[in-house]
């Protein structure tokens, strides 16, 4: 029995594909490690509040070290009341550091640097700071580019702090209640997109490129010069790919669950059905794409020409609702969009078969049709 299985074509073909796959170190990295790193990186960047350090130029030394008793400096008063620490920066310039604690929006540390106007302009141009403070006629003045949102934010924060001068600044943001419910964070948006993209890339490179390469090496021609059943060839290639995609997606989900606590709110069977149908769709595309050419360069170009636009347009990294109104119905018909949106709605919105059933059907049927067309056109030589 075991002997019969191990001698069977399909078994040997599957085994060969698995071995080829796992012996290629690049596969492990690009297929598994890279997506996880990307989700962790982007997830941390956009999900965790982070401490902000903002440099502010203050024109003239007297605002930091009050020497001229005759003119009262508002900025100095403010800094003194808040016990801003006086220090020298790396270039020996005087600076005062003030940290405003905030457990909701993240701490902000302001470094007030004493500079003359020329120095301030240089740093402004370099992007080291975005706001310059000065005092005229007993009023604080802010110089900044009104088109720069960062500068605007600094201005709003600073002016708010200085207006409550006389009291020690504390974050008075009781009115802010942060939305950290799972499902509304960027990571919740990103992971389903990455899962869908992983399937696309894996099928494109793992199926299309593998076929084209074997054709260019005349291996396909050698294989069909034996009694090998052609259907087994495709079956093995696609089966191994889908298995691999399950592993990839599973590990990505696991990492995101451990790091960010992402969950599946909706129906797990529906999610699996969608995942498999997405695999069918991309496998179909991959077979069709690779049906003719025996030049790996052409294959390379075809794969990029197809996958790049989808990666950008299909809302993997950011919502496609940023694109013009007229393009959205088109974008929504891309298989990657369909898959990413579907996974998202199951994972985040708690959808089930009722909501994504149509996508499952469309993806499966188009996968099958493309597969059949691809087989018709398929060249073994």
């Amino acid at each position: 029995m075991i002997e019969r299985i191990s001698n069977s074509q399909l078994f040997q073909l599957i085994l060969a594909n698995i071995k080829e796959l796992i012996r290629e170190p690049g596969v492990l990295f690009w297929g598994i490690v890279f997506p996880i790193l990307m989700s962790l990186g982007l997830g941390v960047a956009f999900t965790k509040k982070k401490d902000v350090i903002t440099q502010v130029a203050v024109i003239g030394e007297n605002h930091l070290v009050h020497q001229a008793a005759d003119s009262l400096s508002l900025i100095f008063t403010f800094l003194l009341q808040n016990k801003a620490i006086l220090e020298h920066d790396r270039e020996g310039k005087l600076a005062r550091k003030l940290t405003v604690p905030d457990d909701k929006l993240g701490n902000t540390t302001f470094i007030f640097k004493s500079l003359d106007w020329k120095e301030a302009m240089v740093l402004l141009k370099r992007g080291n700071l975005n706001i310059v403070m000065d005092e005229k006629g007993g009023a604080v003045q802010y110089h900044f580019d009104p088109m720069n949102p960062d500068a605007q934010l600094t201005y709003l924060k600073l002016s708010r702090l200085l207006n409550v001068a006389g009291t020690v600044v504390k974050a008075t943001n009781t009115e802010i209640s942060p939305l950290t419910v799972s499902g509304t964070r960027y990571i919740d948006f990103l992971v389903p997109g990455l899962i869908a993209m992983g399937v696309m890339m894996s099928c494109m490179w793992g199926v299309s490129y593998a076929i084209i390469e074997r054709r260019s090496k005349k291996l396909l021609r050698r294989m069909v010069a034996t009694p090998m059943k052609r259907s087994n060839f495709f079956l093995a290639l696609i089966t191994v790919r889908i298995l691999m995609n399950f592993v990839e997606a599973g590990l990505l989900f696991l990492a995101a669950w451990l790091a960010f606590g992402i969950t599946v709110q909706g129906s797990v069977p529906a999610l699996l059905a969608l995942f498999i149908s997405g695999n069918f769709a991309f496998a179909g595309i991959a077979i069709l794409l690779s049906s003719h050419t025996s030049k790996t360069e052409v294959g390379n170009g075809l794969i990029n020409a197809l996958s790049m636009p989808m990666m950008v347009l299909s809302g993997v990294f950011f919502s496609y609702h940023n694109f013009p109104e007229w393009s959205i119905p088109v974008i929504q018909k891309f298989p990657l969009t369909m898959m990413a949106d579907g996974i998202r709605s199951v994972m985040i919105e708690g959808a089930g078969f009722a909501e994504i059933g149509m996508s499952v059907v469309i993806l499966s049927v188009s996968g099958l049709v493309l597969f059949i067309v691809g087989m018709r056109l398929f060249r073994w030589h």
Binding site: N7, L15, E20, R23, K217, R221, A225, T226, P227, H381
Partner: protein, 254 residues
């Protein structure tokens, strides 16, 4: 000859866009015969052999193998033919053993035969080596092993020794000679080394520009040289190259 015919090629033509690769070839090969198809680059050897192998289809003419055409007999014929293509790369990251097992499975053949073949082509020590790490000679022996895995009645080898050094070439010849002694396999091999044809084959077909120039046993062919106008220098042994030169005015390996 009274041996039964295994391959019959009747008036076969094949063209590619601008090239007439094979221009009316007739050929009959008997059971157990070792036949060399000898010709320079671009003569049409590969095209002819691949049409016999059912990989390419002739534009005109017919090919019978064991009395059958390829149409409708694909599965039967694939099971009795063993072949190696002029250039095939197997899967780089599979070992010699795994590659044999894979191809054996296409013929529903198990591990025992793979062991035999491994021994036959003297690759036992390389059993676990990845294909990508084999030398040229070892790779050719693997290709030969795969061609032999189903104990084929008909073996077709397209330039099995091209690019190999004399030693590696002789190793392949040894394997093929033992095959001749021990089995009834018919062999067709293409080559542009007349030495290979002389050493290994009992029937030689010289083709050039898609046509057969001469065919016969080695003694027939060498005998003819005496009657030809171009005579080789007397100090040198008469070879097939002299025959080729006298027929075309060119050398075989040009």
């Amino acid at each position: 000859m009274s041996t039964p015919t295994v391959i019959e090629v009747r008036n076969v033509f094949k063209s590619f866009k601008t090239v007439q690769a094979v221009r009316g070839i007739d050929l009959t090969i008997g059971a157990g015969q070792f036949v060399a198809i000898l010709g320079p680059n671009g003569a049409g050897k590969t095209t002819l052999v691949e049409m016999i192998e059912g990989i390419q289809q002739p534009d005109e003419g017919e090919i019978f193998i064991m009395g059958k055409t390829w149409k409708g007999n694909d599965n039967y014929l694939r099971n009795i033919i063993g072949l190696s293509l002029q250039e095939t790369h197997f899967i780089d990251k599979l070992s010699v053993w795994e590659t044999l097992r894979l191809f054996a499975s296409f013929f529903k053949i198990g591990a025992a035969r793979c062991e035999e073949v491994l021994k036959l082509v003297a690759l036992e020590e390389k059993r676990k080596a990845f294909v990508v790490n084999l030398s040229g000679g070892q790779r050719q022996r693997l290709a030969l092993g795969i061609a032999l895995i189903n104990k084929p009645k008909i073996l077709l080898l397209d330039e099995p020794t091209t690019g190999l050094d004399p030693n590696a070439r002789r190793e392949i010849w040894e394997i093929l000679r033992s095959l001749k002694d021990e089995t009834k396999t018919s062999l067709i091999l293409t080559t542009h080394y007349m030495e290979e044809a002389e050493q290994l084959c009992d029937y030689i077909v010289i083709i050039d520009q898609g046509k057969i120039l001469k065919q016969g046993t080695i003694t027939d062919l060498l005998g003819e040289i005496q009657d030809l106008p171009v005579k080789p220098a007397e100090t040198r042994k008469i070879t097939l190259d002299d025959l080729f030169t006298s027929l075309t005015g060119r050398h075989l390996n040009d």
